[in-house]
Amino acid sequence: MPAGAPPTSGDDDLVARANRGDAAAFEELYRRHRDWVVSLAYRFTADRDDAVDVLQDTFSYLFGKFPGFELKSSLRTLLYPVVKHLSLDRKRRQQVSEPVDPDLIAVDAPEPGSGTALARALDELHEGQREVVLLRFVDDMSLEQIAAAVDVPVGTVKSRLHNAIQVLRQHLRRG
């Protein structure tokens, strides 16, 4: 399964089994979401080691919720703010102890070397718009999932997406 694609189904069943103490279900939850979590963490941290640290902390947090964990929406909707918080917290702590590197603190920064007009346009978007665009176009989330993940109303997601698409489409056409 590609890292960005949401899982087809079955998280509910895995969560139920994990709540009963099925170790294989825990492992399956991890393997199912590992690549997405680590790539999302990299998106925030722009550092492979930090991304792996965030991966470990994220699953430690998730597993700590068992037994008794209730999955009310999709697991990625739940994990997104956790990964974001852990990543930003890690970067913040590093900034306190190390000199600030502007390249590293650029949250959701595009890959180095991909200096296309579109990449620059993405970087220039308002943070809230950029976050919504990436969740939509990279993680293929629905409007409702994005709303739950970033904790804003669906209408806000829709308007942010609408405005951001208009801007990015112009840059896409310019090429």
Binding site: G21, Y42, S142, I165, R169
Partner: protein
């Protein structure tokens, strides 16, 4: 032609969860078709730009994460305190009920013994007992006890089976009559 769908509604078609009427509209609208194609190209480009490079999780780190998973599974397998307490409470209730039943049985036995003694001690008028036996609709086991005591003490009795002798066979006949499901 129907009204053009909003660009976000068109984007839902890209992800395969748009409305059927929007899909039908796009099929017949060149302008919306171009927007949808742009959205597809935008998605492909953004995936290339923002997608993280493949990150191999070190084996040691993976083992740590999975060890955490197994540890948590063990915790989940243990019964929660309230369920364990519920079982303990149920066991206590059962023990309590058992004790109560045992006490009740002991009490019943004592009552029976007292009753037997009182029956045996009761100066039973055999003639009236016979008529009572013949007249009443049913006899109970206490009558059998009373007869047994009377036979043991050679204190007369009732010739239940009418064989001319008052003995154990009369007690057995009376007891059988007392516990018979068909009644007297």
């Amino acid at each position: 032609m129907s009204q053009h769908p909003d660009i976000v509604e068109l984007d839902a078609l890209r992800l395969g969860h748009g409305r059927a009427e929007d899909a039908a509209h796009v099929g017949g609208c060149r302008e919306c078709g171009e927007i949808l194609a742009d959205l597809q190209a935008l998605g492909d480009s953004l995936k290339t730009i923002a997608q993280a490079p493949p990150i191999q999780v070190p084996a040691e780190r993976e083992r740590l994460i999975l060890w955490g998973a197994h540890k948590r599974a063990l915790v989940a397998r243990r019964r929660p305190w309230w369920r364990r307490s519920a079982w303990a409470a149920a066991a206590l209730v059962l023990i309590g009920l058992g004790s109560m039943l045992r006490l009740s049985a002991v009490q019943l036995t004592r009552n029976a013994e007292v009753a037997m003694k009182s029956e045996a001690a009761r100066p039973r008028a055999l003639a009236s007992a016979v008529s009572e036996l013949e007249g009443k609709r049913g006899v109970d086991i206490l009558d059998a006890f009373a007869l047994a005591r009377a036979v043991e003490n050679h204190n007369g009795g009732i010739d239940v089976n009418r064989d001319g002798v008052v003995d154990e066979r009369d007690v057995e006949a009376l007891a059988a009559q007392a516990v018979s499901l068909r009644g007297a």
